[in-house]
């Protein structure tokens, strides 16, 4: 394992999906116990390119297509992990977790605790999240808050290719269950255009990014914007446009929700005094409330204004004007920043 290489010193750029796959392939070469299972992960290469090319290298025994029976195969991953293997199991869209919820939140997440630490579950649950392409309420959620709320699983959300690789290495090596949530719009899939941001330089050597290390993606002194996933890029875009108006925005990418890097958030809030939290997930009982509560508990004296930008508490609608209304965009973020900066 090498230490984190600074991405700017590398001239090879990868899409987020290529970076993810590279980490998986590396780990599979290193460790016979690692295997990947999910629907359409073999010949299709993953609907969102999450396993592109792996079948050719590892064959159907280690890149395993499974029946559409999430309870069975996610639960099977739990069982294999408890036997000491290191399965990676993919839930095609996070929205489908409901059909297998018990295996996820009672078995995968709690067996370590309930066994008093006698067994552990070193598996990775990968899953696609996010909207922005009009697929409606059963195929567009992020559910960050849901997974982070239920105890016992680590939850990571990369926003760039560089982070995706380092976080994946860390996820596979972790002895606890990790939920690895990748945003469809960041993957660099042919049929779903990504913003420029997620494609970054990625070192060929392996490296890990520790969980609980938020990344300051842009430094600034006036307002702190805390966010994750796709909205890191939207926040950066908003920050660029606000810079022209003389507002200096700091953008923090949480990168993992469990564990949560409260230090980086608090340090920034103490500096700027103004906090905006942006989340593609539902507004109530989620990431926005959590971050603001953290700031209120530990940096109340420095806090001058807060604002949250999130999906309103309704299911995600299908028609374009409706979805555009509900999913936060660059303008929504800019408006929130302006309102706390006043």
């Amino acid at each position: 394992m090498t230490a984190e290489t600074h991405p700017e010193t590398v001239d090879r750029e990868l899409t987020m999906s290529r970076a993810m796959v590279e980490a998986i392939a590396d780990e599979m070469h290193e460790n016979e116990e690692v295997f990947y299972m999910g629907e359409d992960v073999a010949d299709y290469g993953g609907i969102f390119d999450s396993t592109q090319g792996l079948l050719d290298e590892f064959g159907h025994e280690r890149i395993v297509d499974v029946p559409i029976s999430e309870t069975a195969y996610l639960g099977a991953a739990v069982g294999a992990a408890q036997e000491g293997m290191r399965p990676i199991a993919e839930l095609m869209f996070v929205d489908f977790f409901g059909v297998a919820m018990d295996q996820i939140y009672n078995q995968m997440a709690k067996n370590t605790y309930m066994s008093g630490g006698a067994v552990n579950v070193p598996m990775v649950l990968t899953t696609a999240v996010g909207g922005g392409y009009n697929d409606a309420a059963q195929h567009s959620q992020t559910l960050y808050g849901t997974f982070a709320h239920l105890p016992g699983m680590k939850v990571v959300v990369p926003s760039t290719a560089y982070d995706a690789k380092g976080l994946m290495h860390n996820a596979i090596r972790d002895d606890d269950p990790v939920v690895y949530m990748f945003h469809k719009r960041l993957m660099g899939i042919g049929w779903m255009p990504a913003p420029d941001g997620p494609k970054t330089p990625v070192p060929e050597t392996d490296y890990t990014i520790p969980f609980g290390s938020a990344d300051v993606k842009r430094e600034g002194s006036d307002v702190t914007v805390v966010t994750l996933g796709l909205h890191v890029h939207r926040a950066l875009e908003a920050a660029d446009s606000l810079a022209e108006e003389g507002v200096d925005v700091e953008v923090i990418d949480l990168r993992s929700l469990v564990p949560l890097d409260t230090d980086t958030v608090l340090e920034s809030v103490r500096k700027t005094g103004r906090l905006v939290v942006v989340d593609e997930d539902y507004r109530s009982f989620g990431v926005t409330g959590e971050i603001i509560a953290t700031a209120a508990e530990d940096a109340l004296a420095d806090l001058e204004a807060v604002e949250r930008v999130a999906h309103p508490d309704v299911p995600i609608p299908y028609a374009r004007p409706l979805e555009n209304e509900t999913i936060p965009d660059v303008e929504d973020i800019a408006a929130a920043v302006e309102s706390v900066h006043r």
């Binding site: 629907e39 029946p67 059963q138 609608p317 028609a319 004007p321 209304e325």
Partner: protein, 348 residues
């Protein structure tokens, strides 16, 4: 064996050519603005689109036994079933185009078509239409009505817990439910031999003590006969049946699917085994001439074109409507909603 009248057969033909042409027109409209590089989020029809060309014999053969008060739950590939169940074609099309006058006011889209007038509902989550169909069967039985419920699902969906649990519940309660498996051999890229045992899905019925019937060719007449038995049994109060119907997927799983996993011969075969051509043979043998078939087809195409034109002229929803409909009885602080159409369920 039940004899099938010429009128019935021409009725099948009308619905089958309507469904097929509807898919062709949707395909055309869907690709507008998404070319040359396919971009799923561009163009007049948003989101994913799963076309059902090659599935017609199943939806039409089954639903021609149904009344408006019978319930149908459809999966993510619903158009042919909706057409056969007499779902309002105009409003369904407006929904697919994301318009205000769509069946769900633009909130649901093509995988979530709800038409309470004819008891039709959809879900995009695999096999999750099965339990609600069991519930509809339960309601009919409790009320002493002779309506039935039909749940459609793909052969890839039959390993899903919700399906298996539903078979059992329907069986132990002797409910008027028919489960219809549309076997097109593929679950996205996964051929059934890789993910399903046994290959004959109708054998799942054995484990739940209910009759299982499989129709090997996608022949609408065979389907109609098999469905007659299954739906008749349900309507007569003799419990559920599992019906597995061979169909074919003429297209990719969804629009934009490169189908690189699928052997070309298989794609060719799917197109050759055309249930519409088969039915035309049957019609000829009943003395229906080409002219009659042509005029039925022309009228069907006109109806489809009109629905699409109408839908495209419909207004787009007001962005503020996004906040309506989460509840029919909104808690304070939540935007109020006035249902524009009669509510299907209870309203207290």
């Amino acid at each position: 064996m039940t004899t099938i009248s010429k009128e019935k057969l021409t009725g099948f033909y009308e619905d089958m050519v309507t469904a097929r042409y509807y898919e062709e027109r949707l395909q055309e409209e869907y690709l507008v603005g998404k070319q040359p590089a396919f971009d799923i989020s561009a163009g007049p029809i948003p989101g994913e689109l799963h076309l059902a060309a090659g599935h017609e014999a199943s939806g039409i053969g089954v639903c021609h036994h149904l009344r408006d008060d019978d319930t149908v739950t459809a999966p993510h590939r619903p158009h042919h079933i909706a057409i056969a169940k007499d779902v309002d074609l105009d409003r369904m099309t407006a929904e697919i185009f994301g318009r205000e006058t769509g069946l769900s006011s633009g909130k649901g889209g093509h995988m979530h078509l709800f038409d309470p007038e004819v008891n039709f509902a959809c879900s995009g989550i695999i096999a999750q239409g099965c339990p609600p169909a069991v519930g509809a069967g339960m309601a009919a039985k409790k009320r002493g009505e002779d309506s039935v419920a039909v749940a459609f699902l793909g052969e890839g969906a039959i390993s899903q817990g919700a399906f298996l649990e539903s078979l059992n519940l329907a069986s132990v309660r002797d409910l008027p439910v028919v489960f219809v498996i549309e076997d097109n051999d593929w679950a996205i890229s996964m051929p059934k031999e890789r993910v399903t045992a046994p290959l004959d899905g109708s054998r799942r019925a054995d484990g739940f003590d209910m009759p299982g019937i499989r129709v090997d060719e996608d022949d609408v007449v065979d389907v109609y006969r098999a469905a007659d038995e299954a739906i008749g049994r349900a309507r007569d109060g003799n419990g559920p049946t599992l019906l597995e119907l061979q169909v074919h997927r003429r297209m990719g799983h969804f629009m934009g699917d490169p189908e690189t996993y699928r052997p070309e011969e298989d794609q060719e075969l799917a197109k050759e085994r055309d249930s519409i051509e088969r039915l035309k043979e049957e019609l000829r043998s009943h003395g229906v001439d080409e002219e009659t078939m042509e005029s039925i087809k022309t009228a069907a195409h006109e109806r489809v074109d009109e629905a699409i034109e109408w839908a495209k002229e419909q207004p787009k929803p007001d962005p503020d409507a996004a906040y309506e409909d989460a509840f029919v009885n909104p808690p304070s602080g939540v935007t109020d909603t006035e249902p524009e159409f009669d509510l299907a369920g209870g309203e207290d």
